[in-house]
Amino acid sequence: MDLKKRYILLLVSALFLYASPFIAQDKETEEGEEVLYEPSLALHYFKNTDGARILTGEIKVKRGRQFLPLENAEIKFFAGVDAQINLGTAKSNKQGKAILELSKETELPFDDSGAVVLSAKYEAEENSQETSDEKTIIDIAFEMTLEEVDSIKTIRLTATKMGKNKEMFPLGDFEIDVFVKRLYSDLKIGSIYLDAETGSGEMEMPTIPGDSIGNIVVIARVTENDEYGTVEQSAEVKWGTPVEYRTSRLGPALWSSNAPLWMTITLYIFIAGVFYHLILIINRLFKIKKLGLEARKDPNFK
């Protein structure tokens, strides 16, 4: 094969290698469209104790039967009808979650009924379609008080909801779950039913273990509600049963002091026997040397 043919072959191979991903993509596309992925985006709204709001855009792609998180996707967040206000942009992490924390100062454009339209948008890229999600959120706020009434530990909750002219009205006839923070998740300890008129309710704190001094974190939470999103209020209180767990590290039994007495005595006898013989040998060697020196002094020594 001459040099020219070799170059042509190399060029063809290189072109084939370069084009192979696109060939593979074409197999997956429908009717010659260049779009490969059809991602789905879900917008989540979270309001925490400090009043700070967090918007999370969760983006996933369907591969086979599974929905896999899409990493490093740029999600834009907007507020208001027709996305009037650009709240910011965030990139999705390994779990496919793009998290945007809004500061307390960020004013959301609530309408006259106290609701705001929030949206998240993922713009089309080379190999994926665009997708978006929208949520209408009504602002609610909690006020949680933890107090002992007649030596009964009571959790009191008052909730308000934004209404006309952005005024806060009691959120009544509604149930809010109460949790206690645990190491890997939050343990639900009950629910508080809010009175229709006052928007407040209470529950008794059950006996629950706390940390070494009895501290626990109590959380009142509305989870993924269609109207309110996720809203929580938490507070730390010394209402738990103090628990301190101490255990001595367990070592190998071979070196522990729990060995039977006969074994210990036998072992010491063996060790003593060995050392006795070693000392005896050294002693005898010195004696031999001494005898040798004395013998040399003897005039009859040959």
């Binding site: 645990r182 890997y184 343990l187 301190e244 767990y245 255990t247 590290r249 367990l250």
Partner: protein, 334 residues
């Protein structure tokens, strides 16, 4: 003054060694400056902060940089060294609860464990058995990890102290110390330990630091076992087998906090065990396992579903179970 070729070579070598020495000195100096700059590792990031004290740091590629102290942030080192791994998480006592009514041998726990701990296909730190208490009772799937006993025989019999129980209840193996005598394998009444007969299948960077919390990289000629994913627990994450299980079979949590979770549901440990008649396998042996089982009652699906899609090698594992024997004989009869 004329130097011979050999002399010149020798001088060159001396100069090179001097240069190497100076390089080493410079490197060590820079490293010490970096260590003075703060304890632990630092990560440079562009945060908005007031300019303050300047400190010298050594970058990963060996460059010495002077940066604003406010730009330094301590980062969590993912690899927990051998000494550190001996100390458990303070005031914790980990416990696992396995709901036998939900298990249908999907085997996702096994594959997640193998991927997470770089195990080969034949090494299963969590095994799923098909148990049948008698010929008259229904069979059920029985996942079996290490039980992390409170009175572990494996720890008692280890002659070199390679396996130990931490304050948080986790029993670990230090493969750097393990001599492969297999005393612990013999001592364990639950056969939860496995011997690494072969070299690891994948190639590891020589600089990768071994950690008993992950058992990565696995070492040939040592014993390995379920570690309750101690590395993940330290980061506030749940064990791999639990996260991978689509049926929510495995609950995990802290016994001190009296709460266990399967990722989607969190319940009080004491209530779960009392209400669902939780028990520990071979409790009569006195090893006090930290893994509890909920009996396989009110099952939502037949046990046969766990046999779907299994290859012949896995099917052969269950051939001695009376239920499977009956199934096979019925098939032959028809």
């Amino acid at each position: 003054m004329n130097h011979s070729k050999d002399e010149r070579m020798e001088d060159k070598k001396k100069n090179e060694s001097r240069r190497n020495f100076l390089k080493l000195g410079f490197g060590l100096g820079a490293a010490s400056l970096a260590s003075v700059a703060g304890s632990g590792l630092f990560n440079l990031s562009s945060v908005n902060a007031e300019p303050s004290e300047k400190v010298k740091v050594l970058t990963q590629d060996g460059k010495l940089l002077e940066v604003d102290k406010s730009q330094l942030h301590p980062v969590q080192n993912d690899i927990i060294c051998r000494q550190e791994s001996k100390i458990g998480l303070p005031n914790r006592k980990f416990v696992m609860v396995i709901d036998l009514a939900k298990c249908k041998n999907v085997r996702k726990c096994i594959t997640a464990c193998q991927e997470g701990h770089h195990l080969s296909a034949e090494q299963e730190w969590i095994k799923v058995f098909l148990l049948q208490d008698s010929e008259q009772t229904a069979p059920y799937w029985f996942p079996r990890p290490c039980f992390h006993c409170d009175n572990p025989l494996c720890v008692s019999v280890c002659p070199v102290g390679a396996t130990y129980k931490r304050s948080d209840g986790i029993v670990l193996v230090d493969a750097e110390r393990c001599i492969g005598c297999k005393f612990c394998m013999t001592g364990c009444p639950f056969s939860a330990r496995q011997f690494h007969w072969k070299k690891p299948e994948r190639d590891y960077d020589k600089e990768i630091q071994y950690s008993p919390e992950t058992n990565i990289p696995p070492k040939e000629g040592t014993v390995g076992k379920c570690v309750f994913c101690a590395d993940k627990l330290r980061k506030g994450e749940l064990p791999r087998c639990l996260s991978a299980c689509p049926m929510g079979v495995i609950y995990f949590g802290d016994m001190i906090e009296d709460a266990v979770t399967n990722g989607s549901e969190t319940v009080r440990f004491s209530e779960l065990i009392t209400n669902r008649s939780g028990y520990r396998k071979f409790e009569e042996l006195g090893t006090e396992p930290c893994v509890y089982y909920l009996p396989p009652v009110d099952r939502m699906f037949p046990v046969d579903r766990g046999l779907d899609g299994l290859d012949q090698e896995n099917l052969n594992r269950y051939k001695d179970v009376p239920y499977i024997k009956n199934l096979n004989s019925n098939e032959r009869g028809t």
